[in-house]
């Protein structure tokens, strides 16, 4: 599988990473080697094999619909790089 810098640009935008040009070129090469190695899986015939997302047959893990008091707001906000007394703050996103 050929990996191009355009592809790296695309996945960088999706993952909110902005690599400097030099790093990007190196990363493109590394990803090509790694993804090329992943292509070894193509040798395996997986026709009819169910994709296994959960390894154990655990199912229906549910909780009751009972309210538990919410957390102390100050505790939730104290780790924020920028917050006021009631909310997390970000640069303007809505009017």
């Amino acid at each position: 599988m050929k990996i191009t810098t355009e592809m790296v640009d695309y996945i960088s935008v999706l993952s909110r990473l902005k690599l400097p040009q030099e790093e990007k070129e190196q990363m493109t090469g590394e990803l090509e080697r790694i993804i090329g190695y992943m292509d070894t899986l193509n040798a395996l015939d997986t026709g009819g094999v169910e994709p296994m997302s959960h390894v154990f047959p655990v199912k229906n893990v549910l909780r009751e619909d009972q309210v538990v008091p919410s957390f102390d707001r100050a505790e939730l906000l104290k780790n924020a790089p920028k917050a006021d007394e009631e909310a997390f703050l970000v640069p303007k996103t809505v009017e």
């Binding site: 590394e30 997302s53 154990f56 505790e75 997390f88």
Partner: protein, 490 residues
């Protein structure tokens, strides 16, 4: 070095209960040793004061008979990706600088309730991504057996601290070998239990379907005691299993008569260092001498386990690490122009190269047009790998394999070739894919004097068998009793 540092966790716990040693004395001894071993760089944060206060309080409760657990009062270290309320938890990443979780991981709560005394947080590869503990924002941890070598990773700080006698046991996490491989490189015993047996609530996720916490300690008995304390269903973790407590420690008889030890030929082929191979196979002989049977068979999925693992782990990581964006916690870049710039700058500057590589890789395998060819394919192969294990455990009780192809490499040797580094995970990652218990224990030293580890893999919920076999081996050998600290002193 103080004598008590050489005790196992269980021995120290017994001495504390008998009143021979106080938790405060033990804590002081550990703190002095940590100071002595500062160059190991095993800790990312020390909580000396709270540890001493807690030791004092725990000591009183033990004296009053309120705390009776085997490990009550025994100091430990906790890997830096496990949430500890009010105590720095950074995953050894710049992006989580200053993060003090407002809550404790379930495992931490459980240990606390039994009288554990935490000394601080242990160094690791950033976000547990790596096999060397060199990708830490806080600098690499050094292998206590040879400071020029890596301790393994990602729980490198945990393995180094236990090996250097800086704590009696440690809690690590293992997504693709991150407990077992550093345990092997540092000559300690570590176990990744069955997926779902230890609640993941409070473990900062790398790859949610593979992550599992477990102990690193001096021997199998200590590991059993820790697992007895922390295993169990947690209503806060939907993937945790409802398994009755089994009493792993009390089940350690050392009796392996009739136990079938499987030796998968595909795990002893090309690429395995001959010295490692010899030592690992010698484990079979010891167990055989105690009455176990040896079974050889093929395990035909080995060449697929690394690509499968890295596709799944990277995909989940790309999603799990998206929440680190400079808004709710941790570090935020400066000089951003708008929201998107804030995200990109924070993440680009806040994550190290290996983390970025895996995020990009994971984003790629999930992206439109590639999902089926990579991610879905990997989930299918995961099914085949699980099947291969099911077949193997139809023929044996436990599997014996190496932990890593070599002993600990030199610092600086591994990171330049990421793919090569990934390939060295070949013996450990399949265990996570299949959710099985895997234990790593010291089984020899190579000609450079570096520890060699052997891996015992059990069927799902086969912790008792795995630990009992390791215990049997440790009854007849003393590799696990070797200490790099004593070696230096000699």
């Amino acid at each position: 070095m103080k004598e008590i540092l050489n005790l196992t966790a269980l021995q120290l716990g017994a001495a504390i209960r008998k009143g021979e040693v106080s938790p405060v004395e033990a804590t002081r001894a550990a703190l002095e040793q940590i100071e002595e071993r500062k160059a190991d760089n095993a800790f990312t944060a020390l909580t000396a004061e709270t540890a001493l206060q807690r030791a004092e309080a725990v000591g009183k409760k033990i004296a009053a008979g309120e705390l009776t657990a085997p490990l009550a009062g025994v100091p430990l270290g906790i890997k830096d990706n496990i949430c500890t309320k009010g105590v720095s938890t950074t995953c050894a990443s710049k992006i989580l600088t200053g993060f003090e979780p407002p809550y404790d991981a379930t495992l931490v709560e459980k240990l606390d309730a039994l009288g554990a005394v935490s000394l601080g947080k242990l160094n690791m590869d950033e976000f547990a991504m790596g096999s060397t503990t060199e990708t830490s924002f806080y600098g690499p941890t050094h292998n206590p057996w040879d400071a020029g070598r890596v301790p393994g990773g990602s729980s490198g700080g945990a393995a180094a601290a236990v090996a250097a006698r800086s704590c009696w046991y440690a809690i690590g996490s293992d997504t693709g070998g991150s407990i077992r491989q550093p345990a092997a490189y540092c000559g300690v015993t570590g176990i990744k239990p069955t997926y779902g047996t230890v609640s993941r609530y409070g473990l900062i996720a790398y790859a949610s379907s593979l992550d599992q916490m477990g102990p690193l300690a001096r021997d199998a008995a200590d590991c059993a005691a820790v697992l007895d304390a922390v295993m169990g269903k947690d209503p806060r973790d939907g993937t945790s299993l409802d398994v009755p407590a089994v009493g792993l420690l009390s089940g350690l008889t050392g009796d392996v008569r009739g136990m079938k030890i499987g030796i998968p030929a595909d795990c002893f082929g090309d690429g395995l260092d001959p010295e490692v191979k010899k030592s690992v196979l010698a484990v079979a002989d010891v167990l055989k001498a105690r009455g176990a049977e040896l079974v050889e068979f093929t395990f035909p999925v080995m060449e697929y386990v690394v690509p499968t693992y890295y596709i799944i782990a990277a995909a989940e990581a790309s999603s799990n690490l998206s929440r680190f964006d400079g808004v709710k916690y941790g570090w935020r870049a400066e000089g951003y122009e708008d929201l998107t710039d804030l995200y990109s700058k924070t993440r680009t500057e806040g994550f190290g190269a290996e983390v970025k590589r895996r995020i990009l890789l994971g984003t790629f395998v999930l992206s439109s047009g590639y999902y089926d060819a990579y991610y879905k394919k990997a989930l299918q192969v995961k099914g085949l790998i699980k099947q291969a294990f099911d077949d193997a455990f139809g023929k044996c009780d436990l599997m014996l394999t190496p932990v890593a192809p070599t002993t600990a490499p030199k610092i600086g040797e591994s990171l330049s070739d990421p793919l090569q580094m990934y390939l060295s995970d070949i013996y450990t990652v399949s265990v996570n894919l299949a959710g099985l218990p895997g234990l790593s224990m010291p089984c020899g030293f190579d000609s450079k004097g570096m520890p060699i580890g052997a891996q015992l893999i059990g069927p799902a919920l086969g912790e008792a068998k795995v630990l009992n076999a390791a215990h049997a081996f440790q009854l007849d050998t003393d590799y696990h009793k070797q200490s790099p600290v004593e070696k230096e002193a000699r």
